[in-house]
Symmetry: C2
DNA sequence: TTGCGTGCAAAGGTTTTGCATGGCA
DNA sequence: TGCCATGCAAAACCTTTGCACGCAA
């Protein structure tokens, strides 16, 4: 499933760019501009098509910006394992944290066993403030 | 903050309709059609404006449909307390479950204390399959 | 009476699609 | 060679906005 389709230069460059900026999230517009600034002019229609493929393959995930509600995309890497843990996402800086935490795993099991609800870890994100963004007011 | 602005008949009818269907989520399009079917013709521009107000007041919440990625709206009732618990949402039927669960509360505290991440419970939703929808595919 | 709400139409922005061309396997 | 990817332009779609009128307070 991973990286299906042809291995074109455009796809390689986009993955490389997103991977290099994996702590950031990009709207299509901001991605278009950021690529342009690196001399990589890519029509938005191509971005939409590429991003769709990358989301299917699992290398990239689609979120919504907490402020603008715009679709944003972020590299998550080669991560079949993402289906096995929850994620934290900072509403301010966009940072995505893979939550490797026993207690979280227990909660998922508990909710399945006791509340009859089967959580899709890959599709579930807990939003909030990361340490550095929360700390800005109180350091 | 709750129910700010004028108390108009349109707003009352919309709240009543959404409250009556609180287990369902509605896109603007489907809401428009559902209201029409009840003889309540409401222009979409009015729906957008009303829904925005209701989201601000907290009576209604905005999600994204798991399949179509369309903005969908759902009644959550008078719920200042929603800020204090997590939510489960079924990707198939749209049902929203208010997770009153000690273990979940512990996890939120744990993540704050040990992982340095302050979860916004109100803005965080765990997606998955509810009991009845999980049973349908594979019993 | 004053100011917000509503309805209609138009505009704005995002995303999708058609089609011809180019590139990968 | 055959099929998919790309670029460009146009279309479709969702959402917001402007304006005149109506209604709540």
């Amino acid at each position: 499933m991973r990286n299906s389709g042809y291995n074109t230069s455009g796809k390689r460059r986009l993955i490389a760019f997103l991977a290099k900026n994996e702590h950031k999230e990009f709207s299509v517009q901001s991605l278009y501009e950021a690529l342009l600034a690196e001399g990589l002019k890519t029509p938005k229609s191509s971005l939409y098509r590429l991003l769709e493929k990358l989301c299917e393959s699992g290398a990239v995930r689609k979120f919504r910006d907490a402020e603008t509600d715009l679709a944003v995309f972020q590299y998550v890497g080669d991560d079949a394992e993402c289906a096995r843990h929850l994620h934290l996402k900072c509403k301010v800086c966009g940072r995505l944290i893979h939550l490797h935490c026993d207690l979280a795993g227990e909660l998922v099991s508990h909710i399945s066993a006791e509340h009859g609800f089967r959580i899709d870890s890959k599709g579930s994100v807990l939003y909030g403030l990361c340490r550095s963004c929360a700390g800005e007011g109180e350091i």
